[in-house]
Amino acid sequence: MLRYTLVKLVTAAILVAVVSTLTFFMLYGANSDPVTTMLGETATAEQIAAREAELGLDRPVGEQFASWVTAALHGDLGTSWSNRQPVAETLAARVPVTLGLAILAIIVSAVIGIALGVAAARFRGWVDVLLQVVVIVGFALPAFWFATLLSTTFGLQLGWFPALGYIKPSESIGGWLSTVTLPVLALAAGVAAAIAQQVRNSVIDVERRDFVRALTSRGIGSRRILLAHTLRNAAPAALTVISVQFIGLLGGAIIVENIFALPGLGALAIDATTLGDVPVVMGVMLVTVLIVVVVNLALDLIQGVINPKARVR
């Protein structure tokens, strides 16, 4: 198990390094002209050159990268080009909002998805048909569209939940829940459907396996077979889909946050993108990849615990 953990840790570190390197060279090396974007078309060549020198953009890309890496390893992600705030500070204020939203959404999706998937696998018939419809609808309707609908209906018209705004959980847990309920619903609908589909398929797969018949032959009750054996063996596939869905959900959160005006990474990322604020975009990318890597690592370790074979490989 220790070896397995170490291998997973090293893989995760390599992944972060590769993705941030690629991102850096794409952002700083592309033939786009961020300074012109920032200063506007009217800026003179001297103004642009001065600004580029100030931001260190006149140096070779390799050199810029080296200094970014050195600083990043010390927790310094540079300064925003637009508001001159340290990127790391801005991110620290915003990550908890997005993370809270995404984690709550994945938990809600997993609970609903697993329950629905097991029910569909067990009872088949109309439950199964219903699930297939929900899966198609959940796939076809984008989360942001569903979010605008929720915001309009339950936020504006019915007034059950705030349509906009955010309350920190440290101020009021109830307040926080009321501000994230609609965003979580918007995100969870499609994800829960996708998880349910996968859980259904893997439960049906496991139920066809020989050892389930062997367990029946030993007089083990059907409920115990489902809970202790079928679900346990279906869990690795479910965890895999949960980790894949979590990655998608982080992206979805960025759009949905904008609709409900949550001060998370979403608004930051989009503003930075449209303004060409390269250090902030870089920081957002780094932070999301870190989140993905940590979550995947956690799921891998759970995988190792529930699946004795995974540890060996």
């Binding site: 786009s32 309009t152 062997a214 032959s217 975009v281 990318m285």
Partner: protein, 596 residues
């Protein structure tokens, strides 16, 4: 996945076209594509021209779907938006296919280092959060649609890579590839001619899903205001609707419907195709169903049903059928048999003769779609036809137990051997975990495992097949049953281990006075252990006889044929010693122990 490519492509296309779901979603897609292409002709207004009088206008003859927040015609924008969405889906999907399929082909065919590198890159791409990466691309290359969709295609290429690779790996080992190699075709041509034909349909399904995802992501970006403001898009329409949601809540409906219908049509097309694929395999045998319900020939309906059963397991007129396209297909046609305690009945037959189905039917282990009927299935005083699941569970393991064919697949891979023995004991007896474990240890010793403590703590994948079969035998006898049904208990084992396991079975049978039904295709096994033999062919028992009589004087021509095809070495145990067999290999005491 392993369907041979040449045989079915024509029939498959026909089967796919017969599905209403596929036709319906296909027609919807074609309609959307035509509308998008004809948008410049069809749209009543310039999609970008604002008309102050039409701001948030309701539906009217002039503006069929009303006007948006800037007074632009909603219908015109919807039609023009389709162009952008479909183009986005096309660019992303083509990029993903171009990158994913050839690399998947090479990785799956070459394997080794190429495969490792490809798989690693695909893992990296899969763990990048899509929208954030696209924002990076926008920051680097600007807001126009093609670069972002190419980037999305790159991010989605792993889907195609994995699919292609997995298909190639599964197909590659198959015989016709080897045959093609022998025929002197070059590696590359083999890959293309044979493998591509198999891979093409899953790729189509994946492509329809990819296009759907791309359309959704592109609208998401449009919704965020990323994109050319002069190019109408469904996403920017949702944004406009959202900004005006208090005044004109209906506006959000149209782009939502457009996205939803397009993506759903793509998804349904994909799942419709895959449904057809999954069904063509199983429906093939349905023609045999008509002839299946022929007259019953019950050779050995020995006793009237009313007679009391003492110390016997009795089966009368057992039939098993499965639903097929046109009704039921019967695979067991009225089998009758019985076995006394202390007796071993062999059921011999070729694969597909219905012998395993008969065994499962007796144990109540048939799949849920099987239809079982019988005049009688009786375990001494228990009528197994009438008991419910709970009552059946009570006699399972305690009175009638099962030894399966493939030892490795019949243990739950997630639990240790010890946990699985303990689970069975504790399902039937109120004993403490520690006591149950001590008994499990004891049982493992009884079945000839030398290091029971290590085996108890081992997971199934850590022990050998022979060891696993001993464990399954230990579980079968753990609650002291009176009868055991063993389904090909030695077939999956190495020849040397087979003899030991048979010896173990015989030892346990004699020591515990078990009534055993032993299903096998191997007459050697029958000769070694059985007292009586029932010969099965095509779902019927054609001959039942004492083992010595059967070997000495087979009545049915099929039995003679079976005996003739068996190697000469396997004669029944010497009649003189009866229970003391002469020199069979299986007499050596079971000492297997350390074979991992």
């Amino acid at each position: 996945m392993s369907a041979s490519p040449s045989s079915s492509s024509g029939g498959l296309a026909k089967a796919i076209l017969r599905k209403p779901l596929v036709i319906g979603s296909g027609l919807v897609l074609i309609a959307i594509i035509v509308l998008a292409i004809l948008a410049p002709l069809l749209s009543p207004y310039d999609p970008n021209v604002s008309d102050l009088a039409s701001v948030l206008a309701p539906r009217s003859p002039e503006h069929l779907l009303g006007g948006d927040g800037s007074g632009r015609d909603v219908l015109s924008r919807l039609l023009w938006g389709a162009r952008l969405s479909l183009l986005a889906g096309l660019i992303a999907t083509v990029t993903a296919i171009v990158l994913g399929v050839p690399t998947g082909l090479v990785a799956g065919y070459r394997q080794g280092a190429v495969d490792a590198v490809g798989s690693w890159i695909s893992d990296v791409l899969m763990s990048i959060p899509g929208i954030v990466a696209l924002l990076v691309v926008v920051a680097a290359f600007g807001t126009s649609m093609p670069p972002t969709m190419i980037a999305l295609g790159v991010l989605m290429a792993p889907g195609f890579f994995r699919l292609t690779r997995a298909t190639v790996v599964s197909v590659r080992g198959e015989l016709y590839i080897d045959a093609a190699k022998v025929a002197g075709l070059s590696g590359f041509r083999i890959t293309f001619k044979h493998i591509l034909a198999v891979v093409i349909t899953p790729i189509l399904i994946q492509a329809s899903l990819t296009a759907g995802v791309a359309i959704i992501v592109q609208s998401g970006l449009g919704f965020l205001g990323i994109g050319d403001p002069l190019v109408p898009s469904w996403g920017s329409m949702v944004n406009d609707a959202y900004r005006n949601n208090s005044m004109a809540p209906q506006l959000v409906l149209w782009p939502g419907l457009a996205i939803g219908i397009t993506v759903a049509a793509l998804a349904l097309l994909g799942s419709g195709i895959s449904d057809v694929l999954n069904r063509t395999g199983s429906g093939a045998s349905s023609k045999a169903a008509k002839g299946a319900r022929k007259a019953v020939l019950v050779k050995d309906a020995q006793r009237p049903a009313s007679e009391a059963v003492e110390s016997r397991l009795v089966v009368e007129n057992l039939r098993v059928a499965y639903p097929v396209a046109d009704g039921l297909k019967e695979v067991v046609h009225g089998v009758s048999l019985e076995v006394k305690r202390g007796e071993c009945l062999g059921i011999v037959g070729e694969s597909g003769s219905g012998k395993s189905q008969s065994a499962f039917a007796v144990l109540g282990l048939l799949p849920s779609d099987a239809v079982r009927t019988a005049d009688r299935v009786q375990l001494e005083e228990v009528d197994l036809l009438k008991v419910g699941r709970r009552a059946f569970d009570k006699v399972r393991a305690t009175r009638i137990a099962y030894i399966p064919q493939d030892p490795m697949s019949n243990l739950d891979p997630a639990y240790t051997v010890g946990a699985q023995i303990v689970e069975t004991i504790r399902a039937h007896e109120k004993v403490s975990r520690a006591d149950a474990k001590a008994r499990a240890r004891d049982l493992l010793e009884q079945v000839g495992i030398n290091d029971p403590d290590r085996t108890l703590a081992a997971y199934p994948h850590e022990i050998s097949g022979g060891m696993a079969q001993r464990v399954l035998i230990a579980i079968a006898v753990s609650c002291n049953p009176e009868y055991i049904v063993a389904d090909e208990p030695t077939t999956a084992l190495d020849v040397t281990v087979q003899a030991e396991v048979l010896a173990l079975l015989r030892r346990l049978q004699e020591a515990r006075d078990l009534g055993v039904i032993l299903v096998t295709h191997n007459l050697g096994v029958v000769a070694d252990i059985c007292d009586r033999v029932a010969v099965m062919k095509d779902g019927e028992i054609i001959e039942t006889a004492d083992v010595f009589e059967l070997f000495a004087d087979p009545q049915h021509p099929y039995t003679k044929e079976l005996l003739g095809s068996t190697l000469s070495g396997s004669e029944p145990r010497s009649r003189v010693g009866d229970r003391a067999p002469a020199g069979s290999a299986s007499e050596t005491p079971a000492t297997e122990g350390e074979e991992r």
